[in-house]
Symmetry: C2
Subunit: 355 residues, 2 copies
């Protein structure tokens, strides 16, 4: 069965979800054959993967594939969907590293297995069991990502051309994640440094590399144009995400209000605020940022400083400029017109203000 970009995001997302569901069902059957004790692993991964998720990265990969001349069929959808499993690894491990209790409104994987440990009255520390399980489930998702790609049914030549990009994307992801963790620990106040992290975490990993990966599955054309589109858009997307982490509506983000403030995230928004603040405000920000039990009135107070400092407007302007730059790059290659329309739409989705 063939798919097109012209029918829009939803049918394509459904095709991606179907591919993921089929893969994970097949793998889960295999896990259950190994041992019944693996049932919770199989179920947890399936639910985590399929319960929600915007499928941003596979959608960009699909656009990269079509934009470079590919025709979407079952095999290419399978290959494209596989990168969502890389993302699942990143999310599961991210939650362990941040100590996050929830993900997309449900318990994070390490909390889920902590609970399983408690419910079954197992021996040892429930927290340690939760962390160990989440590390292994993330690892498994990363291995599944490779497996899903290898088994996608793509012609050998496409597969062999795509593997180096797949590898590079994943190396950059891990490097970007480390830089992010390190940046938080450094409590950096530099906009430049925060932007660099944003570039790796989102610019390259979430948009540019999925586009490249998709392109490499077809003809390998338009890599430069995709970089020109992907890197600034990724930064804009990350900046929007940072704004949502502070100003976002919990009903939409699935996270408590001001969660990034509680986590003490060192974002471009925070760096820009610190640069524009009085010494008193600066001291206040540094004392509240990362406070585990930050109350709603303190969140409001920080929001007020961020807004009055001009940092909110500054970041909104950055998002607008970066998005413009991104869209201009779509005219530089030989990207097919259906992919171009799709990518213009995706740029709007990725940077949409929704608070």
């Amino acid at each position: 069965m063939d798919y097109t970009l012209e029918s829009g995001v939803d049918p394509l997302r459904e095709a991606i979800n179907n591919s993921l569901a089929q893969f994970v069902d097949r793998e889960n059957e295999y896990l259950r054959e190994i041992a019944s004790e693996l049932y919770p692993v199989a179920d947890a991964l399936k639910n985590f993967l399929l319960d929600s998720g915007k499928r941003f990265r596979p959608l960009f990969a699909a656009a990269g594939y079509v934009g470079s001349g590919g025709v979407l069929d079952t095999a290419s959808i399978n290959a494209i969907a596989s990168i969502e499993l890389v993302h699942v690894c990143a999310l599961i491990h991210d939650d362990v590293m941040d100590g996050s209790d929830t993900r997309r409104g449900a318990p994070s994987i390490h909390r889920l297995f902590e609970k399983l440990h408690r419910n079954d009255s197992l021996k040892g520390s429930p927290e340690q069991f939760g962390v160990a399980s989440a590390i292994l489930l993330g690892d498994l998702a990363l291995v599944w990502a490779s497996k899903a790609l290898h088994e996608s049914g793509m012609p050998s030549q496409s597969l062999l051309r795509a593997l180096p990009l797949y590898d590079e994307m994943r190396v950059e992801l891990m490097a970007g994640q480390y830089l992010d963790v390190y940046e938080q620990a450094l409590a950096s106040e530099s906009i430049e440094r925060s932007l660099k992290v944003a570039r790796f975490k989102s610019g390259k990993y979430s948009i540019e590399r999925p586009l490249h990966f998709g392109a490499s599955l077809s003809t390998g054309q338009n890599l430069l144009a995709y970089s020109g589109y992907g890197i600034p858009l990724g930064e804009a997307f990350q900046l929007r995400d940072d704004l949502l982490g502070v100003f976002g509506d919990p009903a939409q983000t699935g996270k408590p209000a001001g969660d990034d403030l509680r986590e003490g995230k060192r974002t471009v928004l925070i760096a820009a605020t610190l640069q524009r603040s009085t010494p008193d405000q600066k001291a206040r920000i540094n004392s509240l940022l990362g406070k585990q039990d930050l109350g709603i009135s303190e969140v409001e107070e920080l929001r007020a400083i961020i807004t009055s400092s001009g940092a909110l407007d500054f970041v909104e302007k950055m998002i607008t400029d970066l998005t413009q730059e991104s869209l201009a790059a779509l005219e530089t290659g030989t990207i097919t017109s259906d992919a171009k329309s799709f990518l213009i739409h995706m740029a709007a989705v990725a940077t949409k203000r929704s608070y």
Copy 2:
């Protein structure tokens, strides 16, 4: 340059180490180009990988390759060496899950980054930074494993034949690791259950699958014979490892005396001891096993119970029988004679009594 199995283990191990060193140097240069903050990541992974390690899995892969008709050259050594990086991921993550302070006599990766956090007076929890770093370094090693294989220089057809086995090996590894963690938490007293874990952790992952992987890089022949050799030998190897964890010499194992007892590992040895113990002894074992500050006299006491119960002899007999079964399987395929001699030698190394 060509290599043979006839010159023995050491030159082959050196060739594997050279391949790993070249790969990791290339990757580290790339990491350093991304950001200077990645220097510690690059250094830590390089040291962890190259400081020591028996290279068991690559050696078995080399035997599988040659035994099925392959000729060892630079490309195949590269491909074979790549599975050591899978193992590095497993070790780094294992140390996080166990909370181990050391690995091969040096600080474990999470402790190393905990120290870096303290030395640089970074913000937040040093422990959390250590764990986050170790999770990411393990992930990176797992991605590097794929990359090293893809870039090995093997002909496309060999590579494409090897990928499914590579995937299956890694899925089994993660499943086996989870079963192990779960088994510890269950505090199981069943020999059968402990053996099942041993089968996945060592039998399949450490020996059978590396042999299969090597075979698939050449002609794909002798898979059944390799299973017949690998599964029982892997079990024997794991049983030997369990004995070393209780009776081993710290100078040789690089771990404190009786470390498995302190960790409360539920091994076949412990299960066999419990089955042969009086109710009093059983209660004593259960009260000491997993005691974090277990002293040397308590280690001695547990050792005495294990020995006097007959469990030590029972496990030694199992090792002998399994090794016999393993060697007999070498006669069932068309394994080349040089690979056969090499595998007989490896069986002796893997099950050698050294305490």
